[in-house]
């Protein structure tokens, strides 16, 4: 036992755990991340708190908790697999531990502990709020006892499952004995999980129809989810039993968890060595195909580009970020757009705002491949070697620029062609958007490369750092949004007409292009001419980069939550009635108006409209502001505050409608009386 504890402590100290560093700055970083997650926890807790009455009344506490625990277990398994495999097999200490006289099961137990610590983070995020809320609202002595023990033991089973699966895979499958392959598939799973989580969330928030109905349907969904982990039923019974008998259930749950770990340690003891040893043998190729390579002479720029391209395709971290960014993101966007538009929308003809905003959007998405802002960083320590080649700086830079340009233009094409079919813009709009966004794409690839030349991230041991933790990406994005948002704003403010606007945009973008080209050639000839890549400088900026990155992400998270909170708590719908029209404004960017003469009928009803789909706007439970599609009524505007009636329905002559509902029901009735006189 003692030896196990020592080993576990060494592994954790050794940086196997994120944030277990002696470094004070790293500690603050962890603290900041926790602070950033607090709002999420609070929101979760708050919504459960509000819903507790309904949940308890319909005897769903057990189902909800079981569902949350099951969801947590699924997340732990899916996200844990990568962590398990890299901790057990690919971490630096693996081989050196193997040479020491320590039995496999003790190594595995220590590594299991490291993974467990990571899983507690997930648990805190997903089920901690529910445990706390249910406990405070209705828990007794036995609740707290069992809840704490269940919380401690909950990750054991999923982590054991992950561990057993990975030990089996690594022992028997040759396919996964490759670090790159494992990383690639694990990265893919993580992306799919992220997508998989957001889609049901969207669904749930659309389910604003009736709270009780949503609850019962999600309750049954949760029951289904809980079937996956029967052990969680034991846990729920233990937690809500409330008597000494529930301690029996608790004991059963703990025993089951312990059994899972024991099975893993038993299997691991037999199979761990086999996997690790297989790992160190798998890199050897069976056959060498030395003779068949076709040598070919290329211009230096193309040779550089070809080398970079190979690197992108062969390094999983790069393919995931660069290739998926270039192809997957535009395709997803187009598919989502195609589904939400239902082919029903045509964009305004010859509208300068449409042109300037489309350029911003297209250029932004076309550069999500981050190839150019990471072009130097991706080479890592090899980057400095490029400085010794007798190649003109212009050639080196052009070669570095080519892969990014190619991928950006590919994304641009992927988006532009379907957009032209979906939105049917007039040819003038189409041509000017194409030209302008092509210019912008070139500009911002150049600018990204310039940034990476100025402060590349070269001293890494893991390629992911070059493409993920590279602050140049964020700067490039930010500058791009400002530089392309500004002309859109100017065009709007100055009320430029179509031709004036397009000429202004063209000149503006060409000037940007010239500036970017000048910056790039200035820095490029410095680096590749004589100065070299300053290495010392890089190390210093890395720390600063980290701090700035954290600050920015916290600000962004805080801003998003601030906005959501503000929308939820403080925004009120303002209705102004003038001589001829009614104008409504509510919150950020939600406004609409209709003419009094357009009113067809006005009536009060006690039920919330049944929403099919949110089109644009804000929706959280019964709070809805914006444009929605409603069962039986079609498309129109909703401005509602709560589920309590009355609801004021205003139907216009063109078939569209507006529904109001204020916290103060007298206000709704007053508005009804005012508008009623205009209805025919």
């Amino acid at each position: 036992m003692n030896k196990y504890l020592t080993l576990a402590r060494v592994l954790i100290r050794n940086g196997a755990m994120p944030g277990r560093s002696e470094n004070r700055r790293e500690k603050t970083v962890v603290l900041v991340v926790i602070l950033a997650f607090l709002p999420v926890l609070c929101m979760e807790a708050a919504s459960l708190w509000n819903a507790y009455g309904t949940i308890a009344a319909s005897h769903l506490t057990g189902a909800v908790l079981a569902g949350q625990m099951a969801a947590c277990c699924i997340a732990m398994i899916l996200l844990g697999i990568l962590y398990v495999i890299s901790t057990y097999y690919f971490s630096d200490d693996t081989l050196s531990l193997l040479t020491m006289p320590i039995p496999s099961h003790r190594i595995l137990a220590a590594k299991f502990t490291v993974v467990l610590l990571f899983q507690y983070w997930l648990e805190a995020l997903i089920v901690l709020p529910a445990f706390l809320v249910f406990g405070i609202r209705g828990g007794g002595f036995f609740y707290w006892i069992s809840a704490i023990l269940v919380m401690v033991a909950l990750p054991l089973i999923p982590t054991a499952i992950c561990s057993i699966v990975s030990v089996l895979i690594m022992a028997f499958s040759h396919f996964f004995r490759n670090k790159d392959r494992v990383k690639f598939f694990a990265g893919l799973i993580a992306i799919l999980v992220a997508v998989g989580i957001t889609i049901p969330l969207e669904k749930l928030s659309d389910h604003s129809g009736s709270a009780a109905q949503a609850l019962s349907s999600s309750g049954s969904a949760m029951k289904k989810a809980a079937m996956l982990f029967p052990s969680d039923y034991l846990a729920v019974k233990a937690v809500f039993g409330g008597t000494a008998v529930s301690l029996l259930w608790l004991a059963a749950f703990l025993l089951l968890s312990a059994a899972a770990v024991a099975v893993f340690l038993f299997l691991g003891n037999k199979l761990y060595l086999r996997g690790v040893i297989g790992l160190s043998q798998s890199n050897v190729k069976a056959k060498s195909r030395g003779g068949h390579f076709q040598l070919k002479k290329r211009r230096p720029a193309f040779a550089v580009a070809r080398k970079d391209w190979r690197l992108i395709c062969r390094t999983p971290a790069y393919s995931l970020n660069c290739l998926l960014g270039a192809f997957l993101v535009p395709v997803i966007l187009i598919v989502v757009l195609a589904f939400t538009l239902h082919g029903g929308v045509t964009i305004p003809r010859g509208n300068i705002m449409v042109i300037s905003l489309s350029v911003l959007f297209l250029a932004l998405i076309s550069t999500t491949n981050v190839v150019s802002p990471t072009a130097i960083s991706r080479d890592g320590r090899d980057a400095t070697l490029a400085c010794m080649f007798p190649v003109r700086p212009a050639d080196q830079i052009f070669g570095k620029l080519l892969p990014g340009l190619g991928l950006s233009f590919a994304s641009l094409l992927i988006m532009v062609i379907p957009l032209c079919i979906l939105l049917r813009p007039d040819s003038f709009t189409a041509v000017s958007v194409c030209i302008l966004s092509a210019v912008a794409v070139v500009t911002f690839n150049m600018f990204g490369l310039f940034l990476d030349l100025v402060s590349p991230k070269l001293d890494w041991d893991d390629e992911t750092i070059a493409v993920k933790q590279n602050f140049n990406i964020a700067i490039a994005m930010f500058v791009m949004i400002v530089a392309l948002g500004l002309p859109a704003f100017l065009v709007y403010k100055l009320q430029l007409d179509l031709w004036g606007g397009v000429i202004f945009l063209l000149i503006y973008n060409l000037v940007l292009l010239a500036v970017a080209a000048w910056l790039l050639s200035w820095k490029g000839s410095m680096v590749y001419g004589s100065a070299g890549l300053a290495k010392k400088q890089v190390e210093k900026t890395a720390d600063r980069q980290k701090t700035i990155r954290i600050v920015i992400s916290v600000v962004v998270v805080a801003a998003i939550f601030g906005m959501i909170g503000w929308e939820m708590l403080f925004v009120h719908t303002d209705v102004k009635i003038t001589a001829s029209e009614v104008s409504v404004s509510a919150g950020i960017g939600e406004s609409s108006s209709f003419e009094l003469s357009q009113i067809h009928s006005v009536y009060l009803k006690d039920s919330l409209p049944q929403v099919d789909q949110k089109i644009v706007g804000f929706a959280s439970g019964a709070k809805m502001r914006g444009s929605f599609s409603v069962k039986g009524l079609g498309r129109g505007h909703l401005y509602t505050q709560n589920v309590k009636g009355p609801f004021l329905y205003i139907i216009l002559k063109d078939g569209s409608f507006t529904v109001f509902n204020f916290d103060d029901s007298g206000k709704t009735e007053n508005l009804y009386k005012t508008l009623k006189q205009y209805a025919k």
Binding site: A303, K307, G532
Partner: protein, 241 residues
Amino acid sequence: MIEFSDVSKSFGPSKIAVDHLSLTVNDGEIFGFLGPNGAGKTTSIKMMTGILKPDSGRIKINGIDIAENPIEAKKQFGYVPDSPDQFLRLKGIEYLDFMADMYDVPLELREERIKKFSDEFEMSTALGNTIQSYSHGMRQKIVIIGALLHDPAVWILDEPLTGLDPKSAYTLKQRMRQHADAHKTVFFSTHVLEVVENLCDHVAIIDHGHILFAGSLEELKEQHKGDESLEKIFLEMTDHE
């Protein structure tokens, strides 16, 4: 021919890696660059190759100033860095093709030289595998082949013999000798004193960024009459107590 005149380089205010170094390496000689770990050898070599920029001073390769005419100067030399762990994702043959493109080697010549060198260093069968799968010595050999592809006049080698098997080491030493005999320049750093004794015409000993000695091996032995072996001389010169 390599000329350092009054070259200095520091990393930050307190870390002076190379301190007012002046040195001339003539054509037709194998020049050994010796010094304890952290003496400033790699830093000097990186400044020669344009990877680092000196804080002050000039470096000329075959009479061409690396700061004033970098491209011409860089064509003069082939460089083997101290760590061969580079371009790991490329296959050996792809790496060589890439290096040949960088140095503008015509197609027939590159085919011929790749074949000749990879046979000589026994790398022919490994060329189709990625450099990642190579052993340390194999990586060292592929880097050496890449540096020699454009038949440079000046060879700059940073610890080229570490990790090579006896036969490859012999081949490389042989080639170094032939190159110097053809009245061209070989400059290399090493920690192996027997190699210096058997191979070098001239040596320089550097410590803490200062040159302690530069001249021929005979002169060095002349100065230190009492000591019979190069090892003793070296230890004595770099002893700080």
